[in-house]
């Protein structure tokens, strides 16, 4: 598949802080790419450079092999993390306003249908619920019939139901052929939606791959977790590869029965033991650490 977007060696500083530090990757047409990372990792800066909103200090973005230009703006749909909508306009007026900005906007009825806005068309922007607001912002993003859609934390703050509705929307847009770039804090969301994810921290890209491939590479078998009150005080040797957390020990196992037997022989209490298949969340914590960030 052809690459729709190439990100080449991006660097962006804010005063002394290096927000993005030499990131490169490419997006194949039609994929859904998820940009993950802790708060302050540089996700928003990266996505805003990709959108052409911010200028990088170094590096460039190529859209279909060419530096981004005014043509790109006509083909990109963007949803920012925090966007206010124009005051005192209704949902339908807002959509029509944004339609006027593009040479070939998507038909009004189609937008309303895709984003399920028909019930709230005459509602004032200020009176929308969180989920309705996100749907309207997405509606604005798909007005240009984009072949690239950028969504910066589109489901943050939504209830589980609204999130799942939103996922359906994103999938629908993707099946229409659009390439999607999204940032999120929800690992289940990334796993559900993304063909490929990139995990960022401290302005650097730690890893890029398909979610399952990334998991397979990092975890063999299942994750065993035993809660402890004070795990740091364990003074006998633990099986190799065991991670001691603040409140538990964790280890991965390819042969569960053998591992459990071994733990029993060590005299460990297995109260509260849990076993689960490693998730992106586990991988995320493994890659970015779990210390609190300032």
């Amino acid at each position: 598949m052809q690459n729709i977007l190439e990100v080449q060696d991006l660097v962006k500083h804010y005063r002394q802080v290096c927000a993005v530090d030499g990131i490169s990757f490419s997006l194949a047409e039609g994929m859904c790419f998820g940009l993950l990372g802790p708060n302050g990792a540089g996700k928003t800066t990266t996505i805003e450079i990709m959108e052409g909103i911010l200028k990088p200090d170094r590096g460039q973005i190529l859209y279909r092999g060419r530096p981004i230009d005014s043509e790109f703006k006509k083909r990109a749909g963007i949803q920012f993390q925090n966007t206010s909508l124009p005051d005192h306009l209704t949902v339908s007026e807002t959509i029509r306003l944004f339609q006027s900005f593009y040479p070939e906007p998507r038909p009004f009825n189609e937008i309303v249908e895709i984003c399920s806005l028909s019930d709230i068309l005459s509602r004032d922007n200020k009176k929308l619920s969180g989920g309705q607001r996100q749907r309207l912002l997405l509606a604005i993003a798909i007005v240009p019939q984009p072949d690239l859609v950028f969504l910066d934390e589109p489901t943050t703050g939504l209830d589980p139901q609204a999130r799942r509705n939103f996922w359906d929307l994103i999938r629908r847009i993707q099946t229409e052929g659009a390439t999607i770039v999204l940032t999120t804090h929800y690992m289940d969301e990334a796993h559900m939606l993304c063909d490929q994810i990139g995990i960022m921290d401290h302005g650097k890209m730690l890893e890029i791959d398909a979610p399952q491939a990334m998991l397979d590479r990092h975890f063999e078998g299942v994750l065993v977790r035993i809660p402890f009150d004070e795990p740091k005080r364990i003074d006998f040797p633990l099986p190799e590869g065991t991670v001691v957390r603040n409140d538990a020990i964790e280890l991965t196992s390819t042969r569960l029965d053998e591992t459990v037997r071994r733990l029993i022989t060590l005299g460990l209490s297995l109260d509260g033991l849990s076993v689960h298949k490693p998730t992106l969340e586990d991988l995320f914590i493994k890659l970015t650490g779990n210390t609190l960030r300032a």
Partner: protein, 344 residues
């Protein structure tokens, strides 16, 4: 009590740390006080205002009377005797003495005329008794109703309203849009900054023009303003003035991010402009420096031109200097705001 003190402290710190608002709260009242002090500084309370045109041939006792405010007109530098006489007709001057033609003008409909005639004739008599050769001045009687203050002040009030509406309507809203990300969202569309900004300006122009016409027509229905000139001239000067004031609003809106600071700066501009443009009182007797400074205030040109149209019946040609000034200001402000404009 502890929490009360903590809250007072927190709020005070917030206020002091928000520099824009802080300085604004300090500076604004001071400017206001100084402005009024300057504009209204009048050390000698005078009873009459008398115009002296041309050079007095001899030292007249009359001119030494301290209770009369003498305004000297140099007839060689453009001012005509007719325009001085016109002021007498409108009761702006109580008397005009023309030394060149040796005549003086009094308005028969001005109740001060008999008194000032007597003072003048008595002092001339005294001069003659003291051996001073005073030529004979011929009295010319003219008549005319005074201009009501409301006729005079209405362009100023409308102008002031226009000023606030343009500055805050354009400036404030754009700053808020920048702060809350609406502008950033628009930046991500193919819309150019020019299209967006000129659309804002056009919308405001229509709104302010409509409200100004409404206010004028509404009050005119009851007060029946003097209207010597044409409504078309008035419309032209009003439109130009609104464009000019919108362009000032744009300049403020071009990159500021704080609504408080923007609001403060706009007040900082608008209030001195109101004081310095002769909205409520004539600048005729104001200090020279203030009169010169008032030339760079767009509101001055609007107020001056619309008064000229309404009261003196001035045509487009007569108010052309004002119209040119308003256009020039607009071009400068629009160009400056286009240069410094930022979406975010």
């Amino acid at each position: 009590m502890k929490s009360f003190i903590a809250l007072v402290r927190a709020r005070t710190l917030e206020f002091v740390r928000d520099r824009g608002t802080f300085f604004w709260n300090l500076l604004f009242p001071m400017i206001l006080v100084f402005g009024f002090a300057l504009a209204l500084s009048d050390p000698s309370p005078t009873v009459f205002t008398v115009a002296l045109a041309g050079d007095a041939p001899v030292e007249l006792d009359f001119i030494s009377i301290e209770q009369i405010d003498f305004v000297r007109y140099d007839l060689e530098s453009g001012e005509t005797m007719a325009s001085v006489v016109e002021r007498v007709r409108r009761h702006e001057l109580d008397m005009a003495i023309d030394f060149e033609q040796q005549q003086f003008f009094l308005n028969t409909e001005n109740h001060t005329s008999p008194l000032i005639r007597r003072i003048f004739e008595d002092s001339v008599l005294r001069d003659r008794m003291n051996g001073i050769e005073v030529p004979v001045f011929v009295e010319r009687e003219i008549s005319g109703q005074p201009i009501r203050y409301v006729d005079w002040v209405v362009p100023g009030v409308i102008g002031m309203n226009m000023l606030f509406s343009c500055l805050f309507g354009v400036g404030f809203v754009l700053v808020r849009y920048r702060k809350n990300g609406v502008l950033k969202r628009l930046k991500a569309t193919p819309v150019s900054a020019f299209t967006f900004v000129s659309a804002q300006a056009a919308s405001r122009l229509m709104i302010v023009l409509a409200t100004s016409i409404f206010v004028f027509a509404g009050t005119n229905a009851f007060l029946n303003f003097t209207m010597e000139g044409s409504y078309l001239s008035l419309l032209i000067v009003t439109t130009l003035a609104i464009i000019c004031m919108i362009s000032i609003g744009l300049l403020f809106a071009s990159r500021l991010k704080s609504e408080e600071l923007a609001g403060g700066l706009m007040n900082l501009v608008s209030f001195p402009m109101i004081i310095g443009s002769g909205v409520f009182f004539s600048l005729e007797t104001a200090p020279e420096a203030l009169r010169i400074a008032s030339r760079v205030l767009p509101l001055t040109h609007f107020v001056e031109a619309s008064r000229a149209v309404m009261i003196e019946g001035a045509g487009i040609v007569a108010i052309l200097p004002n119209l040119l000034a308003l256009s020039a200001f607009s071009i400068v402000f629009v160009a400056a705001s286009a240069l410094v404009f930022r979406w975010d």
